[in-house]
Symmetry: C2
Subunit: 214 residues, 2 copies
């Protein structure tokens, strides 16, 4: 396991953003200043410097940050160089969208299996992978040492799928089903609830003056 120097959660949430911003600067650019990066990421420049300082002393005073060093360090810190394997469970429209989404592979994640219990879907192909029944999950998790489970099922199946994933040794779950999953010790669960995002937006719709967070 990696050394546990603590990076504040608020900073962790911004690291992928910085990584994305680095891809936006021209290939000819070799360095970047905190203020330029701040402008791209739409945050304060002191914020950028504070955040990056948690990764070590990466910058050069009077000069800025070397882009490729910075990118490497961000990838390292986020664990994107470990090549984590992931499976997607629930291959409806959302699951298919996720399976096709190139951003995962590009960022170092490998989608190694698609699962669904609908007989009409089993054995059909999506994004070059054959859809398997959930009974094959354990076999896959062992074979590919699956670290991440992505849940894209309807709400009513999500908790059962989560339990199964955890039973197979998966320690990280990204949940798109609109339900609250039970907490389990040592298992990280992140939920993205599409309708909640819209509700937050709705609050600010009436109040154009206020600024949302995030």
């Amino acid at each position: 396991m990696k050394e546990n120097k603590k990076i504040p959660p608020a900073t962790v949430k911004r690291l992928p953003l910085y990584l994305q911003c680095l891809d936006l600067v021209g290939d000819d650019e070799i360095g970047i200043s905190s203020s330029k990066l701040a402008e791209l990421a739409k945050v304060n420049d002191a914020q950028v410097r504070r955040d990056l300082s948690y990764l070590g002393t990466l910058g050069t005073r009077g000069v800025g940050y070397d882009i490729s060093t910075l990118r490497n360090q961000l990838q390292l810190e986020l664990g994107l160089v470990e090549g984590w394997s992931a499976v997607i469970v629930g291959i409806g429209n959302l699951g298919s969208a996720l399976a096709h989404y190139g951003g995962f592979r590009e960022k170092g994640f490998g989608i190694v299996g698609l699962f669904d219990d609908d007989p009409k879907k089993i054995n059909s192909q999506v994004a070059g992978l054959v859809i398997k029944p959930l009974s094959d999950l354990e076999k896959y998790c062992e074979k590919f040492n699956v670290a991440i489970g992505i849940i894209a099922t309807p709400g009513e199946y999500a908790q059962g799928v989560a339990d199964q994933l955890i039973g197979c040794g998966v320690r990280s779950i990204l949940n798109f089903a609109p339900v609250l999953l039970k907490n389990v010790p040592d298992v990280q669960i992140r939920s993205v609830d599409l309708s909640q995002e819209l509700q937050i937006l709705s609050y600010y719709l009436d109040r154009p003056v206020l600024k949302a967070v995030d």
Copy 2:
């Protein structure tokens, strides 16, 4: 416009969660205590009381909160009773998933139009709506007074679509494309980046001891 008593952003983010939790309690229950709600929402009970106190004095000391009053107040505060209209642009797998997603309507949003510029998709139906070309966007926005634009296009089209939506008077955008949209004054933009969520998970994957935020 609604009165602008300020609710802290961190609280606004939890209001939809409380609303969801209220649906979890039995229909026979008439009231709920902050500690019960806290348990369901997995937050501290003082947090619940503080959050709800921003909506006014809703509880009864010694008793708790009346569920239906609380639900009404949450919906009111979030602007879910205004019946905001939304359009979805980009009807690939993700856009289709969003179009089918029942949670939007249930929460008071009306999806009034689907748009895509792929000739193969135009005029076909998804979730009971006919897909229209982007050139029809302005007409729809006027006709239905569209408040929210949901972007589910590939990244390269997202900024153009956002510009068009804003040009049509849309003041709120929920963006699923993995790009950073330009900020525009008085336009609220929320981005959900699927790969960023996965990267945050990845950070904590190596560090089972640490707790993520959110």
